[in-house]
């Protein structure tokens, strides 16, 4: 907790404060022990596990249809993509592929999820740096996307729309029109995002040159997603190991070169535009056909190990299923992007100031339940 009692000073005159587990800038329940010299951070030690919900253990006793729902609660901002990863892994085990229509729907949904996730991130970055208004501007578009999700999937945040073999049901008749309207709105409003934060001198001062992560360190720390791409490390799974027909759509992998908070910020801003571009290519070209491949009622994967990597809004999610041939997985491991990204925090924040720590955490875009699982 935040109220920590006596000022505690180490022998070197350093000042230890505990940020979290409940603190507005930790985006959930992360506990950071920070050694300070004045305002300067000497050392950061993340303490995790305040939201460790034993999803991996739980999944071992659930059937292959049922374990998917829990992954929505891991990285709830990319719930769709998490579900997709699980569905793909099961499909890999069954050696089937989703029908083309389902694949396209999956991509559109995943990109919408990425958009809404990045929008929330943008709002929260503003909030973390002390600007309140971006939060409301970001949620304006996010709510529009949420409405689309709700109409087609039936839920706003934890949709549970992906099932092994395709999607749970067909898209809503209004879907295409609404997506087009929202895309138009989003494209117009990107200008406002830039007006409010991107060009702002205070914002630039807070992020430029802050939280530097070199490409070598990014790889060594296992960083993925915009965090690594901000340092110029190419790691987009959609390009490296395309799944669900990503090889058929055109988009660019955005790479920053600065390695600082501003670079990570710009990568995400540009990624939003790429997501819009991907959806635009597909929204009028959803092929007709089944939305779900036929699967047996009780799915049993053959004995073996199946690993599927997907690109969530925060980086690479790996689903590693070890099957012993039974109706539920023998072991499931989620290689979550945030867990690795968080480990680089200590490296980035050492030598920075408290205000920078907030900026760094904001641009890593942590989702703590994904760290703790």
């Amino acid at each position: 907790m935040s109220l920590l009692g006596a000022p505690e000073v180490t022998e070197d005159g350093e000042f230890i404060i505990n940020i979290g587990p409940q603190h507005p800038s930790t985006h959930g329940v992360l506990h950071l022990k920070v050694w300070l010299d004045g305002e300067m951070i000497k050392k950061v030690q993340p303490h995790l596990g305040y939201i460790h919900r034993s999803i991996e253990k739980m999944s071992e006793s659930l059937s292959y249809r049922n374990f998917i729902f829990a992954t929505s609660r891991m990285d709830y901002l990319s719930a769709h993509i998490n579900n997709e990863a699980c569905a793909l892994t099961v499909e890999k085990g069954l050696q089937i592929e989703a029908p083309p229509r389902a694949q396209v729907i999956r991509i559109i949904m995943a990109e919408l999820t990425r958009l809404s996730s990045h929008q929330l991130w943008w709002g929260c970055t503003g909030l973390d740096l002390g600007a309140v208004s971006p939060f409301f501007f970001a949620f304006r578009e996010r709510e529009a996307i949420m409405e689309i999700m709700e109409e087609t999937c039936g839920a706003r945040l934890t949709q549970n729309y992906m099932v092994p073999g395709g999607v749970m049901y067909d898209i809503h008749p209004n879907f295409q029109n609404r997506v087009k309207t929202v895309l138009k709105q989003i494209k117009e409003n990107f200008k406002e995002y830039d007006q409010l934060l991107t060009g702002n001198v205070i914002f630039e001062g807070r992020t430029k040159g802050v939280g530097y992560l070199s490409p070598e360190d990014a790889i060594s720390y296992g960083c993925t997603g915009p965090t690594a791409r901000g340092s110029g490390v190419s790691c987009d799974i959609r390009k490296w190991f395309p799944y669900d027909g990503y090889e058929k759509v055109q988009f660019e992998e955005i790479l920053g070169t600065g390695g600082d908070c501003y670079s990570r910020y710009m990568v995400r801003m540009a990624e939003m535009k790429q997501s819009v571009y991907i959806i635009e290519q597909l929204i009028d070209n959803i092929p007709e056909g089944d939305f779900q491949a036929k699967t047996k009622n009780v799915i049993k994967l053959p004995k073996g190990e199946f690993y599927q990597r997907v690109e969530t809004a925060r980086g690479e999610l790996g689903v590693y299923i070890v099957s012993d041939g039974a109706a539920s997985p023998y072991r499931i491991k989620y290689r979550s992007p945030n867990f690795s990204n968080l480990s680089a925090l200590e490296h980035m924040a050492t030598g920075a100031k408290i205000g920078d720590l907030v900026a760094i955490m904001a641009t890593i875009d942590l989702v703590i339940p994904d760290v703790d699982r």
């Binding site: 596990g49 006793s61 060594s220 296992g222 690993y307 290689r335 480990s343």
Partner: protein
């Protein structure tokens, strides 16, 4: 490098390593004794250069524990899965690779926390997700917890 070429170049360096190609990736199974030097070679050998450890985990096969390292090379674009069998389930021990890939610092702590594998020479070997006072290793198959309700 394709899986075949990988197999050839790795077994040229370490003949004791056995391979298993049933899955998507090439699986190499190493022994505990050789493990650390294999890992160092995999990371630093110019032809192999596995610089990205993207997954590190453990599987409890009841009789033994299996450490699984998913390695990838960003420069050569190949993937290798290295496995190490730990026979001692009471007090499993293995060398840490935290100095080779920094991401292992967190991942090894997680494996220590949930499986009880002890990593030698790890810079900060503490539980990461659970309380320091937690009893047992939850992801082991023989873990019992009276608070846990099963369907």
């Amino acid at each position: 490098m394709t899986n075949e070429e990988l197999k050839v170049s790795v077994s040229a360096l370490y003949p004791a390593i056995t391979f298993d190609e049933t899955g998507e990736f090439l699986n190499a199974i190493s022994s505990v004794a050789e493990f650390r030097s294999v890992m160092k070679t995999l990371r630093h050998n110019k032809e192999l250069e596995f610089d990205f450890l993207f997954c590190l985990t453990c599987i409890d096969w009841k009789t033994h524990l299996m450490m699984v390292y998913h390695l990838m090379s960003k420069t050569h674009k190949h993937v290798l899965v290295l496995k190490v069998k730990l026979d001692d389930t009471k007090d499993p021990q293995i060398e840490s690779v935290a100095d080779i890939w920094k991401t292992a610092i967190f991942h090894e702590r997680e494996v220590f926390d949930l499986f009880g594998v002890n990593f030698k020479n790890h810079p900060d070997m503490r539980r990461i997700l659970l309380d320091e006072s937690w009893d047992g290793f939850p992801l082991r198959k023989n873990y019992v917890d009276e608070n846990m309700i099963s369907i």
